[in-house]
Symmetry: C2
Subunit: 202 residues, 2 copies
DNA sequence: ATCATAGTGGAGCGGCCGCTCCACTATGAT
DNA sequence: ATCATAGTGGAGCGGCCGCTCCACTATGAT
């Protein structure tokens, strides 16, 4: 009964993604997005409600892609029974994503979770973004149990350092420039191993 | 012969520092800075020329403080002849700065070099900021030589990972929240050791 | 043919931004 | 006393922002 869409929402997200990777969040304005995507200001607001919702929805697609890839890699190593290697695989996941789909990795590197999940993100997208936290924490706890037979806060913190902080330090810059060196991945695996060897606080 | 200053430029930098730590760069506007520092819009522009110059000058003070502390720690370990421990000391420098002067560390964590050194920074401050790069690279090369008797790009890159990237990953979040745990410093030392053991690419 | 309605396009509102402009002020030199 | 001048204070300019508003359109149902 209504007029059909002429701008697919996904096409707007694609344009937003390009602009976020090329120019960063601060340069993504509704006017630039309208020009790049071909959709008018009015269409974008009708479909999404706010610019931050567009950013949230674009990020959500890629974060899901990443977590799926990461979970697959983790399950594979856990099936082989090696908790330590599972943590290393989880840490290496951003590098694997960059191999598979550089733009996906570049979007996740351009914008962190807290940059995305702001008050202006519409509830349906915000809820889905928060659901990703639960997924990630579940993976982290699973890894902590695999290494130490414990999934308490202290062990989860150690795994978080290995799987979130160390990859950000070593890989993100190279993903941004488009080339992840094998040597950097080896350094990451070594650093993860060393942090795991420290164990949780006393 | 002229009218004397009623607002010391350092007091404006102090106010800018507070605001940067408390609210971040995006919330630091000339109006907020004028209100907090007590200096008027006109005074601030007369003294600095642009808001980005204020930010640059505030950051410069703290970056110098940090590099001095870091260089002292490095020299001490190099005098003892242990290149590996010198790299670990350099990596630990942000944690030591946080112990000495939390606000200094928080400013450096709130803003990275590239956020500060923009086109709008007045030449005298911009030049001094660029001079810090030279100082840091000299330290990195010195460390590379101490570990491998080489100061080429490949070895300097490894030291950069140890001294710049790993501390950012492990310490910055805790500095932001105001409490650096000893266990985190131990993890950092272990990760630095592991990355050094990898050596430069083949 | 008419109607209800989701979607479209673009003018423009209100607000904040960095910065400019300029009348004015407080000093030391004469 | 007068003057030159570095510094002060604040009004307000021009520009960009996110977002609203609303007349209009293209469709399927009747």
């Amino acid at each position: 009964m209504p007029r059909p869409r002429v701008h697919a929402p996904d096409a707007v997200l694609d344009a937003a993604e390009e602009l976020l990777v090329e120019r960063g969040r601060a340069q993504l304005t509704i006017r630039v997005l309208a020009e790049r995507s071909g959709a008018s200001n009015g269409s974008i607001y009708h479909a999404f409600g706010s610019l931050e919702t567009v950013v949230g929805a674009a990020w959500l697609r890629r974060a899901r892609q990443f977590l799926t890839l990461q979970a697959t890699a983790v399950e594979q190593e856990l099936a082989a029974g090696d908790g330590r290697r599972a943590v290393q695989a989880a840490a290496d996941a951003p590098a694997r994503l960059a191999d598979d789909d550089l733009r996906a990795a570049q979007l996740l590197v351009a914008l962190q979770r807290d940059d995305v999940l702001t008050d202006a993100v519409a509830a349906p997208i915000a809820d889905k973004l928060r659901a990703l936290d639960t997924t990630l924490v579940a993976t982290l706890r699973r890894l902590a149990r695999a290494v130490w037979d414990r999934g308490d806060a202290a062990t989860v913190d150690v795994v978080t350092v290995c799987v979130v902080r160390l990859p950000a330090a070593l890989l993100f810059g190279e993903i941004r420039t488009g080339r992840v060196h094998p040597h950097t991945r080896a350094q990451l695996a070594a650093a993860v191993g060393a942090v795991l060897d420290c164990g949780p606080p006393h």
